[in-house]
Symmetry: C2
Subunit: 325 residues, 2 copies
């Protein structure tokens, strides 16, 4: 093992930068005060961080896993606005005893996730810290499309989902329960991978915007919590039909092992970064989306989310500082 | 005191967001998956973080100080490319017991620094962590100008500086020596403020690009180290005339109190975020710049920096993981 302290800042950068390939409209990449991208029209910008022992632990996640996930959660936010990614910046803070091979893995994971969308890490910075923090900013171009916000859902719209919900949350519960044993079980390993390396349905975001989606977001905090965000912003009720038979089947082995209901993960689990969108009723759903519900007028109790007519029993979702109200 | 844990994530955001005013080409601000900016042509993007106990300590820096400084160091990077800022994103990680008033101060500091340039915080995110980390991304528009890189300096060019060098480093040494006593001394307080709230000469960056600067960067790691970056990238020698009489005078009280030579700070001190630029000899220097040297051909020893013909004795500069080579 070779630590960051042994290599020094310039030495660390000289190991990481060659692992990052430039793709897309990057005029000037890492190495100057700033990077330069060629863009036109409205630009989508979003930031999200992964913090060690809050969002990942190194005994479960390799550097490569964290790279994939950090890129994915930001690229999913770009996709959820209907934009096409044009680049990432990475602000990295690490303890000085961090092994360079962990950081090389991180760079490989970031680069591989970006490569799926023909985009890249355009720049970043490196700091010291007592815990690893990977803070990413992602940029996307709308290419003339309107950004798909959260406040455009209207009664009569179809509620649709691209990608999955609940798998990543089940994976986390499996890791907490017994990481070593469950990783070795083929029926469970896929759920654990969904937690470590989510696979957001990126291209469905652009397709949804082109099809005329009225509202969209990526499900990062759980279906109940995120659907409620659309409901509140739009002043409507989202009635979900619970058409998740296939996902429930994939969750069944975890439900059995952990003695937990699959609905807990389907309703409350985030981090798969599926895309939840609403479409006017006359719009054919774009590829990758399935109908999961209907937009209704807000009930007398106000905007909200119901599953087959009733509130979910599993409505916590994720919140930082969860000791809060 | 009211902690983040007591307020919860949504409660914290409801206290911070009203302190951020939207300015400039922000089509969609905080609250959705991503923000939207209207831009045209080449976009400059840069990221830099301030980490508690590495880049600041809360017993010396108020939240407002950290907000000013975090915005300033990123806006200076935008300026150093010759671009005009269009917005910031803030990725914030804080311990759950952080007092909300510290974060409100941070938001006020960020907003006030942005207001100077008619720009704003367009969005961000909030995470938990064991130490405070303020990671910022700044965006700037080149408005048709070429980005001013580090590799364009040519023999015969004039070396020029806008803003100051050395004051912030002296301020840090004063804080380390005896923060309480030196803050109360009017002859020293200005140096300490230069450390806590640097004032980069932002508008000189655009002026330098318009005037045809051949190379530019912001001095964040010290004059020797940063001038060396231009020298290496351009394959030249930067000969500095050491024309810093006024700065040496401002440093004299600190030199006396601490028994240190002012040259240590002038040559090795970063964090004032002055702009170091090279200009072709026929170009009148834009307002705010003063001539401090000349670009010469690289010596037989290779590219480098000399002060009145000799290397500086004070050439360490700042490096993360300073245990490195």
């Amino acid at each position: 093992m070779v630590s960051c302290a042994e290599l020094g800042e310039d030495g660390v950068l000289s190991r990481i930068l060659p692992l990052l390939t430039s793709r897309g409209p990057v005029v000037l990449g890492p190495g100057d005060d700033a990077a330069v991208l060629t863009v036109a029209g409205d630009l989508v910008v979003t930031a999200d961080a992964l913090v060690e022992n809050h969002d990942f632990v190194v005994r479960w996640s390799s550097g490569e896993d964290v790279g994939h996930k950090a890129a994915a959660q930001n690229l999913a936010d770009v996709a959820a606005m209907g934009a096409r990614p044009v680049g990432l910046l990475v602000s990295l803070a690490v303890p000085e005893l961090t092994d360079i091979s962990w950081l090389e893995g991180l760079a490989r994971g970031l680069d591989a996730e970006c490569a799926q969308l023909d985009t890249s890490v355009a720049g970043g910075d490196l700091s010291g810290a007592e815990q690893i923090m990977v803070s990413i900013t992602a940029f996307g171009q709308l290419e003339g499309r309107q950004p798909v916000r959260r406040d455009g859902a209207r009664p009569g719209d179809v509620v649709a989902l691209a990608g999955t919900v609940g798998l990543a949350a089940a994976g986390l519960d499996l890791l907490v329960d017994d990481a070593e044993q469950h990783r070795a079980d083929p029926a469970l390993a896929g759920l654990i991978m969904a937690q470590l390396r989510p696979e957001p349905p990126y291209l469905s975001g652009v397709a949804a915007a082109e099809a005329g989606a009225s509202a969209m977001l990526d499900v990062s905090d759980g279906l109940v919590k995120d659907a409620s965000r659309i409901a509140r912003a739009s002043g409507v009720r989202l009635e979900i039909h619970d058409a998740f038979v296939d996902l429930a089947e994939r969750l069944a082995p975890a439900a059995k092992v952990l003695g937990a209901p699959a609905l807990k993960w389907l309703h409350g689990g985030g981090e798969d970064h599926g895309l939840l969108a609403c479409f006017p009723p006359d719009v054919p759903l774009p590829e990758g989306f399935r109908e999961i519900g209907t937009v209704l007028s807000a009930s007398e109790a106000g905007p909200g989310v119901t599953f087959n007519g009733s509130p979910s029993r599993f409505n916590a979702g994720w919140q930082h500082f969860a000791g809060g109200q």
